[in-house]
């Protein structure tokens, strides 16, 4: 932002140029400080501050009624009506959603499914664009993705088969591998913005955030780890709101030893006492926190059987705490109608 674009007296502009301040830097100074630095009068300083503030503000406060129907109310379907009902339509189009759970709970399964459902047009719950899948743990399960694509016509009976066959699913899933933190930061700050800016993708999946942050740091380095974590999270938030793109982060879980922890409600249902990894620093960055559990027993559907899972809403500004049973089938993850 340049000073010439602001509606200010040339005298004020030349004064502020002399002390080499940017528009944003001016706002971080108090009026007396600014007066001292620039040598401007008090009323000039106020004009300067007001002009700078107006330049930084995107819009004046708008009635919430007007923002209805805008991007922020858009939801990305997860590809199953029962789970969408739990999530009130799906993932919010703007914001970071976390999905955590033990290994084998079905987190990656659901993430892959969302990578496909994002490609449908908006009337079928998609965002009409591809997905970028940032893999930090092991190699991308490309075979499973192919299997899911073949199963789409079975999973999405609400979509006309002709539409499904016209979509080239695997061509629109971009896969990024990040083996260390440096390449992960590089990925979210350079490569992914390119894909988003070109309109090729409108979903960012990170599988998983925990892996690198847990392995690259010793316990004593927690301060540095938190700093890196915040940088990473700031990048994700930036992507999410700049391109109004849902960000889905898969997280591991960690055992909770003390039951007096006030962070998470202790479960009364006898589920194991685990909490999402990366602690409070990360939890503060997450808008929607979902957890997935693998339960005992089997459920069957047609000729297939699956271990029952449970998708649980831990917190979200718009969702009630609650859960749904689910099963992982050949064609994808489906919610169960009966309770488990």
């Amino acid at each position: 932002m340049d000073w010439d674009q602001l509606e200010l007296h040339p005298r004020i502009i030349s004064a502020v140029r002399r002390c080499a301040l940017s528009v944003r830097a001016v706002l971080c100074l108090s009026a007396p400080d600014l007066q001292r630095l620039s040598g401007l009068s008090r009323s000039d300083t106020q004009q300067l501050l007001t002009a700078a503030a107006t330049a930084c503000r995107r819009h004046a406060p708008l009635p919430a009624l007007l923002s209805r129907g805008l991007q922020s109310s858009l939801r990305l379907s997860v590809g199953c009506p029962i789970l969408d009902e739990l999530l009130r339509g799906g993932l919010p189009a703007e914001g970071v959603t976390e999905l955590s759970g033990e290994s084998g709970a079905g987190k990656t399964q659901l993430a892959l499914q969302v990578c496909l459902s994002v490609q449908y047009p908006t009337q079928y719950g998609g965002l009409n664009a591809g997905a970028v899948f940032i893999s930090t743990e092991d190699s991308f399960p490309v075979r499973r993705l192919q299997q899911l694509i073949r199963g789409q016509s079975c999973l999405r009976s609400d979509v006309p088969p002709s539409l499904i066959s016209s979509l080239n699913f695997s061509d629109r899933v971009y896969i990024e591998h990040a083996a260390d933190l440096a390449s992960l930061q590089e990925c979210v700050s350079r490569r992914v913005p390119l894909l988003l800016a070109r309109g090729l993708v409108r979903l960012v999946v990170v599988d998983s955030v925990a892996a690198l942050f847990r392995s690259d740091f010793l316990a004593s380095d927690w301060l540095e780890r938190n700093r890196q974590l915040l940088t990473f999270s700031a990048a994700l938030h930036h992507l999410s709101r700049e391109y109004s793109t849902p960000v889905l982060c898969i997280n591991q879980v960690t055992d909770v030893f003390s039951s007096s922890d006030s962070l998470v409600p202790s479960s009364s249902t006898g589920t194991p006492t685990v909490a999402p990894a990366l602690g409070l620093a990360w939890a503060n960055q997450v808008m929607v926190r979902l957890m997935m559990w693998r339960l005992q027993g089997t459920v069957s559907r047609g000729d297939q059987s699956s271990a029952p899972r449970r998708l649980q809403v831990v917190f979200a500004p718009h969702l009630a705490r609650g859960g749904r049973g689910a099963g992982v089938w050949r064609e994808g993850v489906r919610g169960l109608t009966e309770t488990v």
């Binding site: 300083t45 009624l65 998470v264």
Partner: protein, 439 residues
Amino acid sequence: MKMQISSCSLSPAVKSRLTAAGFHFLSELRGLSPSHICAEAGVSQQEALQVLQAVRGGASMRGGTSGGGEVGGASVGPPPSLTALQLLQEEQSQRSIFSFCSQLDATLGGGLPVGKTTEICGAPGTGKTQLCLQLAVDVQVPVCFGGLGGQVVVVDTEGSFLLQRVQDIAGAVVKHCSLLVEDDEQRVAMTTFSVETILSNIFLVRCHDYVELLAELHLLPDFLSEHPRARLLVIDSVAFPFRLHFDELSQRTRLLNGLAQQLIAMATSHNVAMVITNQMTTRLRGGQSQLVPALGESWGHAPTIRLLLQWAGTQRLATIFKSPGHPGATVQYQITSDGFRDADQSEQPPSKRPRTHTVQSAAGQKDSNQSAAGQRDSNQSAAGQRDSNQSAAVQRDGNQSAAGQRDSNQSAAGQRDSNQSAAGQRDGNQSAAGQRECS
């Protein structure tokens, strides 16, 4: 209050000349003519005018130099000094914003005070945003239902203001009020009190980083002047933009102090309640980790009231841990699909739902809604047992007289007895909560 010349906002050259001429306090310049100052201090006529402007604006600038803009300095004179009695009367004439959680309202003496700053702290998922959204809707409840009929500005820094949820909460409040309609005034008020009007009276700003937040706060006083009905400003959250990207903590502290001053100035000059949310952070003290509100020690002085939301097992607890007017207390609450509510709803017979007491009691002044009044009494006796603090009782009484007619059936002591068991039950919960805290 004597303000030194060195501390006011004049150019350094003028200040040094004034000091050299023997002026040390702004009050010494009051009543002098510009030419007199020119002659005495050897400044130009224009500088002398600036000096006089500073003298006049000095007192009103005390609150927020950067917040008020030119309007605060020149055209509006310093506010008259008030005695404590006048202040008390002024405070009592102001209604508070109730939260729909009667226990929380009771401990806060009727709800969140207008003209003060309240901070809501809590770990993620404890209900900070929910309480903010609830308050944003509650502040709009029409005056004839005991509300403020105000507007609200919501500054969203996290992107967590989801319309879907506001519609839920607004729908529940509208439905609740429509069930209470008893006279024509309320019937008329209900014709315009709908989810649509609630949404059109919520002014939403999204700030993406701390500079945008500072910019918005600089411009908000003007917006509030244009919208005199605004009674609540919500910032959800202050912590989020200030905890990202800050390597230099002294800079952050400086900005936060300035921000706190702006908020306090805005709250008093525009008569709005400030509600800000804060995150929690872990602090290591003596080898033990402890959860404390974020943004550091000096920020803790900014809000008048600090409210901590937390989980204790499967219960949600709200603790007041800083407030000049209320004793520290812990109450239970829950978050239902309708919004922020009392925890023990299900334990009560359906006819005596305590969650609605503030509104019900407002209705109760017209007919003598005995059950509603009795309900509140039971809450109060529960509160009274919780703290035997006399001044607290006085405080509450003061607010009751302020609330006025609402409490006309206060003296029905019989109801209190009949509700004693319910209160006892709650106390049982309280002591359980207390034990948990101790451990």
